[in-house]
Amino acid sequence: MLNHKKVNIFLLIIGIIIFIFLPHFVSGYWVRVITTIFMYAVISQGINLMSGYMGYLPFGNAMFFGVGAYITAIGMSKGLSFLAVLPLAALTAILVSILFGLPVLRLRGHYFAIATIGMSGALLSVVQNATEITGGAMGTTLPIIDKSPEVTYNYFYLAMLALMVITTLTIYLIIKSKFGFGIRSIKANEEAANSMGINTTYHKVIAWAISALFTSIAGALYAYWMSFIGPDEVFDIMIAVNTIVIMLIGGAGSILGPIIGAFVISLLSEVVWSTFLEYHLAVLGITIIIIVFFVPKGITGAIADFVKKRELRLRKKVSV
């Protein structure tokens, strides 16, 4: 058992090392594509914690991405350094999640999902109209890093990779902890969880704050990376929709699901986009429907089922 664990950790470290050196072997275009994949994996991981593990689908999670991006943009335009503004962005997102979470997390199922969309829309409206602070619907610029584009892109690639690894590790540790059992119980049966001594409100609010924390850091990095952001772009509900699809395809409630999903969906979309330029959204949509239809538990779920079935078959053979 311990050996098995050691092998897994070894494989993960090898994987991370390969990704660290990958930019030296691929074109700048692919470096940017993979940076985006890391970013989607982080956002999807935040949704996985809320939905895959706790059963609350946060359709409005893009608002934390937007908050992270805008606080970074505003702070840096006032002359703060990125590292100084980053904690500020994260803290603001956490505050927003707690403020919104306390009333909205009383709702269950679809009602919660819809309420978060409303909040995301409300925040977008505020950002669009507070022209003096945010630059309004025109968007806002950030200082550009004074280095060659190649160096800059590698820098963001590594930062996003680090964020993905830290996010995944943190959520893994949370899930294995007492708190993790608490939120998994909420997904399984909230009433039973409550009667077992689990403070469900506290668990839900904290889980959403953790989700907001990582999503907002992804937003902050994105803003600095792009050096120009617009409200429609960073508060776009499609950010949440895409990362929900990524979680479902990869495997909801599985720690590697969002990462695998992000790679599969993004690479699939690259292939589809380059082959069917005009119909790529339609083809991509149908492909996703087919995947969900045949692999409802996502890729990691299908692999787990396959391994389980094989083990059962082997056991039967042995007993015969």
Binding site: R184, S185, A188, N189, M196
Partner: protein, 255 residues
């Protein structure tokens, strides 16, 4: 001395759903260490009392004193942490988790002021799984086990919370006579070992009579009788309301 023996006092407790008086001015006391049977025909208000006492429903009026504090305005998780817990009439397993993980959640949370780090909690969960005889199923998903095993799992889960008072809401429902017998023996044994106080809500008369020290009978949301099993079955009001004359005769003949 007498006062100290009372662990739970329910005083003029009422719960109305609109015009329906599901529980109407019910008062009774639960003594430390006893098994109190709570019986009554369908709709008598047994489960509603459980739901109000454990905080699932807010009360309409009255008070619930548990170890000198009024718990009638607390939330379910707060009441559970004080050491008063319940099982559900319709089992509520944590789907997607194994039997051991279900019991582990009870062990991790549950009553306050216990050592609840992962290692201790796992150890306690495994001990209790052994106690109720579910060891062979501990790694099965709860969606893969039978109803009797689910009930055992739920019993193990509340035991892992280390409560002082336990409301067992129709734990025998859906079990066949042999399984009822087995479950009764288990409940009695566990009560002795863990020094539990149990409020036992039941439909199956034979199980209640055999297991309870005292019985409270409810009818239409009101308490009609309170006493030993013998007193209760011989009481004319109970016979009229619930048991029927034939059952009373049988008991009398046996006695």
């Amino acid at each position: 001395m007498e006062e100290n023996n009372i662990i739970l006092t329910i005083k003029s407790l009422s719960k109305y759903f609109g015009a329906l008086k599901a529980v109407d001015e019910v008062s009774f006391e639960v003594k430390r260490g006893e098994i109190l049977g709570l019986i009554g025909p369908n709709g008598a208000g047994k489960t509603t009392i459980t739901n109000v006492v454990t905080g699932t429903y807010p009360k309409t009026s009255g008070s619930i004193i548990f170890e000198d504090t009024d718990i009638s305005n607390l939330k379910p998780y707060q009441i559970a942490r004080k050491g008063l817990t319940r099982t559900f009439q319709v089992v509520k397993p944590l789907i997607g988790m194994t039997v051991e993980e279900n019991v582990l959640v009870g062990s991790l949370y549950g009553r306050d002021k216990r050592n609840t780090d992962m290692k201790n909690a796992s150890k306690r969960a495994r001990e209790i799984i052994k106690l109720v005889g579910l060891e062979s199923k501990k790694d099965s998903l709860v969606s893969d086990i039978t109803l009797p095993d689910l009930k055992k799992m739920e019993f193990a889960r509340v035991l892992a919370m280390e409560p002082e008072v336990l409301f067992l809401d129709e734990v025998m429902a859906g079990l066949n006579p042999a399984e009822v017998e087995e479950a009764s023996i288990l409940v009695k044994r566990v009560r002795r070992e863990k020094e539990l106080t149990i409020v036992y809500i039941e439909h199956i008369m034979k199980a209640v009579m055999g297991i309870s020290d005292r019985i409270v009978v409810l009818h239409h949301g009101r308490k009609i009788v309170e006493g030993t099993p013998q007193e209760v079955v011989n009481n004319s009001a109970v016979i009229e309301a619930y048991l029927g004359k034939r059952y009373a005769r049988e008991v009398n003949n046996e006695g």
